[in-house]
Amino acid sequence: MTLTRLDRLRLGLAVATSKTVTSLIRLLGLGAGSVFPGEIAGRIQPRVLPLLTRQVKYGVIIIAGTNGKTTTSLLLRTMLERQGWRVAHNATGANLINGLMTALLENTSLTGKLNADYAILEVDENILPLLLQQIKPRSILCLNLFRDQLDRYGEVDIISQRWLKAIAPLAPETVVIANADDPTLSHLGQKLSQQVLYFGLSEPEQYLDEMPHAVDSIYCPSCGHALEYQGFYLSHLGDFHCPSCGFKKGQLAIDSREWPQILIGIYNKYNTLAAVLAAQEVGIAQETILDTIKNFQAAFGRAEELKVAGKQVRILLSKNPVGMNETIRAVNQIKATGKASTTLIVLNDRTPDGTDVSWIWDVDTEKLVALGGNLIVSGDRVYDMALRLKYSQTNLSEPGLKLIVKEDLREAIATALELTSPDETLHIVPTYSAMLEVRGLLTGRKIL
């Protein structure tokens, strides 16, 4: 890819300016500077993104979906790096256009030369169409589509229609890696002319006992008839078919039983399978993939484990009903073994969290309350969360349950740590901005 001299000049200027801004932000201790420099560069050179991504040697891999982007990206990135490749990646979860640019600029020299074999871009599901107008990816991972931040963007149906419209015109050699267990994405894959590789589970013993309430899509995306499910793995993800038009889940390109998973929970099973398919597609050796899965360390806040004041802490970012239901399932499994009794939930309603907290009523908090123990709540919407937990109790006061309300997050964390014995793990369940605050307080470091 050759750039014109003017392009190079302007790109260089954009890079220089943004790099200065990054060092300034860091110098002044304002945080990691993950968004701001990209915005500045974007103003100086509006074509920064296409000019940068065209220089990525083997191609750009986009990771989109409601849940699991960060963990999947980190896993895939580690696999690529173990293979000896240089990877540019927006690792901080800054997944809007400016965040993507900032990440690429970090790997770019002052003359506008990008030095990377691959770029992994975690992309907000609503930004994907806009991004695909600017760059041509090698592959796109479509992880899942859940109800999330609907207050910002609208509804799952509309998002999937926009994805289809954006992906359909891409080059035929573009590889789409899609979650077959998600009817919306199976349907998307079946509408595309590009090569589609499906991942999903084939493990009926993992079916949920009953259909979860927080379900978005149980109607046939093709004809509108009710889908029939043999079983649900997680929310609306499962083994399904349409009795009316014959629509069914995509043919899996990977056998979930043959692969170990990272971290805990069904979620991470899906994340693992998606990363494995993407790694196989670029030709990474089987041993390297397996080895990376075995040694994987969580991204911050995603089942991340910390040792604080001699106590074991696990942070489980939960930003929507599906995510929080999965978290509750995982926490309850640990509670049942006696290795945990205290859970801290931190509910914020800032822009990155979604300003509507109604979704907590779609979470099956009854299951959390039923196992008793200490439940501490905090965050901007502490009383809304407390109210949800109160209404989760069968009786006005549940025996064995201690509900503690703490407006002040510092106090909430201190109380939670105090109530956790040395042989237990404290589980902290925060929304996105709350997770950054919690981590900041626990590690003494801030992330912008």
């Binding site: 609907l150 609208g154 300003t355 109604s358 009523w361 009383y383 006005l396």
Partner: protein, 264 residues
């Protein structure tokens, strides 16, 4: 010991199709507040498997929001005898709370962003239209005062103050009232259409609103009004409910009023 007088049946419209943005919180709130007071509560889904006779059995009706596609499926199913049963219930004064998508189906019609106009039951005199896929959604915390005459009076009496309702609205469609009474007057937010200052509608004992949040847990006096009205209708005798500890709801309300700069 429970007698017949302790029974309350909550009919929940299409729980699998019409329950976005936490709307099941309204059902949970009604169920718990009645159960905590010793009533025997049954939550009955009113969906594709339901007959018109089932609809006649319920004491309170709850309906939530839906995506446009789901709303279409509901309207196809809710026709004929079932539509007639729902009509008769509401006309007979069965109390109900209908949020976001479900009021649209009680009105004359709804025009979605994509696709055909969806005809409603025409029970409440209003129409709803989506101004187009690129139009701004009405999103944010909302506060309104209940002004619908009879309901407003009842609630003022219960509370001893003006009945201020807190919620969260999130709708693409806009609703324009005909002769039906508005539920309230918007203090903060968009309300029915962002133009005329009205929010929701009130007809017989049916409350229609754009307010999620969900509505009832944060405004428990409306939940109690619904329960009280349902029991009084059912047993044809005035009912007074024992008070519950609503300290958490009050704190949640105070926090939001403070944030929005609303003096109560």
């Amino acid at each position: 010991m429970t007698t017949d007088k302790d029974q309350l049946i909550i009919g929940w419209l299409y729980p699998n199709l019409m329950s976005t943005y936490g709307d099941r919180g309204n059902t949970i709130c009604l169920r718990q507040r009645a159960q905590w007071r010793g009533y025997n509560v049954t939550v009955m889904p009113l969906d594709q498997q339901t007959s018109a006779a089932d609809i006649h059995k319920v004491d309170i009706i709850v309906g939530g929001g839906a995506q446009d596609r789901q709303q279409e499926i509901v309207m196809r199913d809710l026709s004929g005898a079932k539509a007639q049963a729902l009509r008769e219930k509401i006309e007979a004064g069965t109390p109900g709370v209908f949020t976001c998508g479900s009021p649209q189906l009680l009105g004359h019609y709804y025009e979605p962003a994509i696709g055909q106009r969806i005809e409603g039951l025409g029970l409440l005199d209003f129409v709803s239209k989506h101004p187009g896929i690129d139009a701004r959604r009405c999103i944010g915390n909302v506060v309104f005062e209940v002004t619908a005459s009879r309901l407003g009076q009842d609630l003022s009496k219960m509370l001893g103050t003006a009945p201020l309702v807190i919620g969260f609205e999130n709708h693409g469609g806009r609703t324009y009232l005909g002769k039906v009474e508005a539920l309230g007057r918007v203090i903060k937010g968009f309300g029915n259409n962002g133009e005329d200052g009205t929010e929701g509608a009130f007809y017989k004992n049916a409350i229609a609103t754009y307010s999620h949040g969900p509505l009832l847990p944060k405004n428990p006096f409306i939940a109690d009004w619904l329960i009280q009205t349902a029991l009084a209708e059912k047993y044809q005798t005035p009912i007074s409910l024992s008070p519950l500890d609503d300290a958490l709801a009050t704190q949640a309300r105070v926090a939001m009023f403070k944030r929005l700069g609303i003096v109560t």
